[in-house]
Symmetry: D3
Subunit: 220 residues, 6 copies
């Protein structure tokens, strides 16, 4: 912790001065174009892997990069999504899962969560992803971690579509959904391709007129 | 969004290679010492302001850096806290609020949230902070934003104490709570001082034998 | 009510005897192929409009033919869907809306629901449909009833995809979703076409090898 | 499913033309006198067994013909009941259980529901019926299915009385509750008699001046 | 508060010594015969008005002597009732309302609860009582306080019947429900008579073989 | 029960007449200075042990003297606390636990609650107290009952601080929290001392200028 506190001092001393103008400008408002939803995992630094600056990504993080489906019960994700879409007007929503995810391991192996009642219940929002893999592969084991992780990204994109503000903007073509998978060990990012139901490389040339990175608006 | 996608390519090309060893090591596990809870606001980059590397901070982010009090209803924060404390064994929990926070402005002015039902309900978890300021200052206005932001940091620390895993570790002196306020325009970080109920500078010399940054374990 | 009671006697006297064998066979089990979800509206008789017999349709009915998205909170629809898919193994799920729906009128005009707190909250599950139409058409009025009814059918199909048992069978191609719109005055049934996001006639020739009536399995 | 689709065509071709006038009249409104609550079981056709026409019964159906007690949490039954009583002004509410009910079998044998978490929780609303039978009969087995089914009908009538709109109309003598048991194999319908706490034949002569089929309004 | 603290000292000095034997006996267990549910109102002392000693009444108190209907959501009343009936085996449950009840005044006049969101929602459990009176009397005013108070007692008795443990013991004749109304100004206690739906004097001679004070077990 | 009914008659005959004036005065309002929260246990008589009269203590009682943390879900305690603090303006809140508490025994030994689902879930609000003791003492047994009871008193005081009305008055120094432990066998009352995290004798001399019995207002 000393390290973290001295890091703050270092930031103020060595980093801030060079960026002071930009920070001063940000002091009175934000206009992020992207809502970035990812896992709380310490190994993910969204600004680092996208080489973006403060002000560019509105970032929600929780164990498992989960987006509970819309319901009349409010939670942090539901509220933050409403804020990002309706108030800030973000145009892209990225759900970014990752390799070696502890939450996904827990979802695959619920018995391991006996003493973690809240984690177990929270991962109920990932149950459809697990059931999809079980239906396809039969008895589940550690070797299905990647499959479950991918299906979870697809599922949380599904859940996003149930949120009224997101559904409305999707129908109007004003927001686009993206599913990403970040590989911690290789630094690689794959994107979810809805057509093939598979992860494919995220490369710039894939980006056409601007609205179809691994998600599409026309979907019932 | 093109910018973000090309940022990923830049990360892979220019940044990752130099850190490849460290990333490869992280590929199979994380051992963060700190749970960092902050707002989803795009202007905050926790790793930047603490000058930390991937693997050091387990980061939860939602609109308003809210920690709902423990209840039998599970949400993303409750589950993520349980995971961070019981599974990862973090030793420090930082609740980091910030200046110019849209969520705090909404909490101060609930009428502005008429068309945002979920944001309004989510900010119900900040209501005690608002009521504290109203009791002290009378009719509330935009000039009370800093007060409400500070009281909200203190309140969310209170809420943390109701979570069983946190309460247990606090009682055993195995975890310490910290309340931080990040000033977007100046880059400054203040910490909440429970004695004086005020924000004071976060300076390294304040850190004694390791367990008392703006929080203490002995508290009923 | 006398009429209803004497109807039962008439059923026993005039209808049952001819079908006694079939009813006796049904006495110990059901094997419906279809889960039929429709509005509680008195003007809809699912068996009549599909000319089916007892034993063929597992039928869930509520105001608005609503399917709440899956959550850890259990309700009647969530439980009935789980039962139909996991226990009975239905292969088709039809969400059947209808013209002149009182629930849809309420969703369009929430002020009319002031004294109906539960109806208003229940129709929160239709809010995304209303928001989609508002985003496309601007200020809403009675003339948008058909649009909202269609979008609601599409939305409830979306919600079905969040239920773990449904998601798993969809991924395995073992269940197909259908969206129908029943016109009370003309007896006509339209089906929702996901490609065109429009209602098209439900005609037999549309039915290919068996799995694509207004829904498809491959969808993120 | 082909069968169901071709049934719709048959309905339009062979059935609708003869009833076109009546359907056209229904196109702009409904005035059902009865709210009919029954199980989603495919073997029950409410209009068939009561020999009623479209427009006569407002029909709610879920697994187990369950009516959750009124609470501040809204569900489909709560909303549909509010709509039927407060908006449509139904004068009779029939809770219709049936023989060989899969939901009742599950309620009797909760262990069989291990892999059906939502069915299990939904049947928590039937727990009082099961406990009543257990208190009277001791250890429960398959032979208590009829008892539990009957007690469940009585219990759901109890639950109806907790709904504000129903309670108000009951106190004013403007609505009457009825408990029915439909025997799938014999076509017989019994009614619940509150005095004797038993099922008795539903015969027309039982019907006095109009308000006492198996339920009564004066009840604390 | 000094007064309360010195009262404790007075209790220890002047009252306890004479009852020491009885208190010592109670130190290791309780066997109350009665579950007494009443309002938190400071003017009600259950042991005083029934002239009972410690150990005789298991007492639950909240604003409005409310018993939420049984649901799968747990609250303090639901848990305390389960404990009293299933663990302690109480044989009588008294719901005791009172004159001049602030909660009932709030239920009659919900606008007065604008700034008390939780009180307003809690009194949702009394809404059926208010609706009953409104149905009978039309527009409601302060003059209907007694009616609402009585109907609330009857309603909470209804709610008690939805709790599984209570329903089971009621069916077996092992528990009896009682509705009482305590008049603060006169010290009088009336009991609710289910037959006449009215309050009548609570007199000893009314008590037959032991099971019918203002409640009865045979009720659907 | 006869005994209780005849007790009422005795109260009216022998006790009320002497206090008639005071009761008559109370008939139209209450102004309690203290909110007294204690267990439903039959052996506790708050007015007896504090030697107070009707009108002095606003009393909430449930199994385990539990105060759920504030949430957007309303329960009886949340509503009653809001009423006591915001409407009645109580200046002191006492959480009074006791020796030999059945709820605390259940919290220590959750397996004993298998057949008591609601008690088990309700005691989830005491889980942090249990975890604190487990962290300090290791494997838990019956010998830790006193520790858990004390930690539970401290925890429920923590929970009180999350309620907006309480937090506001605490910050303004207008309300004080107290934790008491009543010893049923000895009549002794201890108070919780936040400094030492221990129970100390409740003696009048401890009471300074009026605001610090076992609780303090300045606490984050
Ligand atoms: Zn992860
Ligand atoms: Zn913020
Ligand atoms: Zn409808
Ligand atoms: Zn059934
Ligand atoms: Zn009262
Ligand atoms: Zn106790």
């Amino acid at each position: 912790m000393d390290h973290v506190v001295s890091g703050v001092a270092k930031f103020q001393r060595e980093v801030f001065p060079d960026k002071a103008d930009s920070f001063r400008e940000l002091a009175t408002g934000q206009q992020p174009e992207v809502l970035f939803i990812t896992c709380a995992d310490s190994r993910i630094d969204p600004n680092l892997i996208t080489q973006t600056e403060p002000g560019e990504l509105f970032i929600c993080r929780n164990a498992g990069n989960v987006v509970p489906p819309h319901s009349n019960q409010t939670g942090g994700m539901t509220a933050s999504i409403e804020y990002a879409v309706a108030v800030l007007g973000v145009e892209h929503i990225i759900v970014c899962g990752h390799t070696d995810c502890g939450a996904m391991k827990g979802a695959l192996n619920p018995q391991s969560l006996e003493s973690l009642p809240h984690v177990r219940e929270w991962l109920g929002h990932c149950r459809a992803a697990v059931e999809v893999v079980r239906e396809q592969r039969g008895e589940l084991g550690a070797e299905h971690l990647d499959c479950v992780t991918m299906e979870n990204i697809a599922l949380q994109m599904q859940h996003l579509r149930t949120h009224p503000t997101v559904a409305a903007k999707l129908a109007a073509g004003k927001v686009t959904l993206h599913g990403w998978l970040y590989n911690i060990g290789t630094g690689e990012v794959l994107r979810y391709d809805a057509e093939s139901r598979a992860m494919v490389p995220l490369s710039e040339v894939d980006l056409p007129s601007g609205r179809s990175q691994g998600g599409s608006r026309a979907q019932a």
